[in-house]
């Protein structure tokens, strides 16, 4: 089978493996998923619309309490399916809601994943997502990079390359979503030590799944040095290590003619000056500054 995405950042098998490994104990580490699912749920409450065919892409089964609590799932028993969000198994125009909870940051081809989601939506269908953004774990990235340079004379990717919030709006538009909205939250969690942070990340199923990662045993020296740097640069006054998680929230709609659209430039039929009850003044053309070569 040809690889659908030749430039793979993430090893998707590892991602599934780490997720499965964390499944049994997930409720102990699901605070970020809970938090994001709740935020998405709040946004959903603001939209007065019934969604009868919805897909929720989450790091744990749909029936898991983490998701169930936030979405007030009632009589309509949901169905779980296992799927890869890089190759979605939904027919075109089959869903009116697609919500993704902290999974899209591991897509190798994020624009492609967004296009597939948009295609699976009916016209005027809604896409909601929470994903980790570029600020996430910047302290860990900094400490690991500097420690690795110091102890091994080179660096290897140890923290996921997260998407930048600034790019998400245009990515949504490129994927064909109308009325895109992007915002974000910064959540700072403090940890006793580096080990506790690593333990939490593992519990969330977010261990390093970068395809090109250094798979050798990192050795103790690297972590001792990383912890020293981390504590020096990114600790609270009481000595606890700060870890930032940036959660980007996306909203987009599959296009439909009922949606509001900007008018063509020059198509206005009323003058702004009349609406404001003021006079219109021409702006004097500014002379170019003389250039000295």
């Amino acid at each position: 089978m040809p690889d659908p995405c030749p430039q793979r950042i993430f090893d998707r098998r590892d991602i599934r493996r780490f997720r499965n490994r964390s499944r049994n104990d997930f409720a102990r580490y699901d605070f970020l998923v809970q938090n994001s699912a709740q935020s998405l749920s709040d946004r959903l409450c603001d939209i007065r619309r019934q969604f009868d065919t919805a897909a929720i892409d989450g790091p744990c089964p749909f029936t898991h309490p983490s998701i169930r609590r936030s979405y007030h799932i009632g009589e309509n028993a949901p169905c779980d399916i296992v799927a890869d969000n890089e190759v979605l198994p939904f027919a075109g125009h089959s869903l009116n809601l697609f919500a993704s909870i902290l999974t899209l940051h591991t897509a190798n081809d994020l624009p492609g994943a967004l296009v597939q989601i948009r295609r699976s939506l009916t016209p005027d269908g809604l896409f909601l997502a929470a994903l980790f953004g570029g600020e996430t774990l910047f302290e860990l990235r900094d400490a690991m990079t500097r420690a690795e340079l110091a102890t091994r004379g080179g660096v290897s990717p140890r923290v996921f390359p997260f998407a930048d919030k600034q790019q998400m709006g245009s990515l949504l538009q490129r994927a064909g979503f109308a009325l895109p909205v992007v915002d974000s939250d910064l959540i700072t969690v403090t940890y006793r030590d580096l080990r506790a942070l690593m333990h939490d990340l593992r519990g969330m199923g977010q261990s390093n799944a970068i395809a090109a990662r250094d798979r050798r045993n990192p050795g103790k020296a690297l972590f001792t040095e990383a912890e020293r740097i981390y504590r020096k640069a990114h600790a609270d006054e009481d000595g606890r290590l700060r870890a930032t998680f940036e959660i980007i929230y996306l909203i987009g709609w599959a296009p439909h003619e009922s949606q509001q659209k900007p008018l063509r430039p020059g198509s206005a039929t009323a003058r702004l000056a009349d609406a404001l009850g003021t006079n219109e003044h021409n702006v004097p053309t500014r002379r170019r500054p003389t250039q000295h070569s």
Binding site: C79, D80, I81, V87
Partner: protein
């Protein structure tokens, strides 16, 4: 004991590779994509729509 898949779910599921509708083999608990030559397993009523967990179909199994 086999758990049946919700018929509404079967309506919206397609083969993730070819995006064509799937054939439901109730006895084998598989969702079959003739075009891709793959059978996606259903475990405890949960369709596993992963290409690397799908079973490759024998030639005689494929319906044209």
């Amino acid at each position: 004991m086999t758990q049946d898949v919700d018929p509404k779910l079967l309506e919206i599921l397609v083969c993730p590779l070819t995006k064509v509708p799937l054939r439901y083999d109730r006895a084998a608990q598989e969702l079959i994509s003739d075009q891709a030559g793959l059978a996606y397993p259903i475990r405890d009523g949960i369709p596993i729509m992963l290409v690397d967990e799908a079973r490759k179909l024998e030639d005689r199994e494929v319906r044209k």
